[in-house]
Amino acid sequence: EAAVTQSPRNKVTVTGGNVTLSCRQTNSHNYMYWYRQDTGHGLRLIHYSYGAGNLQIGDVPDGYKATRTTQEDFFLLLELASPSQTSLYFCASSERQGGERLFFGHGTKLSVL
């Protein structure tokens, strides 16, 4: 079973703060994704990547940067955090695009005060 590990599990920051969420997958998947989950909106795609150095824009990218440093590691950056970014963030990976199973991490709960 593919393993996707997110860190930290919980994070509290203040408005204007700088936050980096980390994700590592250990099954050599090509695709990695960052989602946020909010009540009433389900999961929404922020950014995704199909390999080291690649970045694709998702559906709600404003206020977020991302970087895929290696095949295993995908980071989500909030450079000026705002209270509207308080959410549950999930990282996921899949082997190929087009319907392959998504494997999710356990999530990072971020609170921006």
Partner: protein, 110 residues
């Protein structure tokens, strides 16, 4: 508008009853998946079913692509089935963008 709509929003059952969850989507989907999310937990893929009927254990999914709808049937529900069930489609628009519904929250009581 919302591309993936799920119903009902919540469902309460007695253990042993069957559950029927619905997913309707407004755009063409090249793939459809059902996920389970435990309370406060991560998501696990249950079934990939872009068309037709698929079974796994007590789960049966039926997708009618032309009508843009899918259902998930859970037979003989158990308390451990409690959680949120999410439907997701891959729009296949040239990039890999999986779009999720808001989910159906299922509570199975003993």
């Amino acid at each position: 508008g919302q591309q993936v709509q799920q119903s009902p929003a919540s469902l309460v059952l007695q253990e042993g009853e069957n559950a029927e969850l619905q997913c309707n989507f407004s755009s063409t989907a090249t793939q459809l998946q059902w996920f389970y999310q435990s309370p406060g937990g991560s998501l696990v893929s249950l079934l990939s079913n872009p068309s037709g009927t698929k079974h796994t254990g007590r789960l049966t999914s039926t997708t009618v692509t032309k009508e843009r709808r899918s259902s998930l049937h859970i037979s003989s529900s158990q308390t451990t089935d409690s959680g949120t069930y999410l439907c997701a489609i891959d729009r296949g628009t040239g990039g890999y963008k999986v779009v999720f519904g808001s989910g159906t929250r299922l509570l199975v009581s003993p």
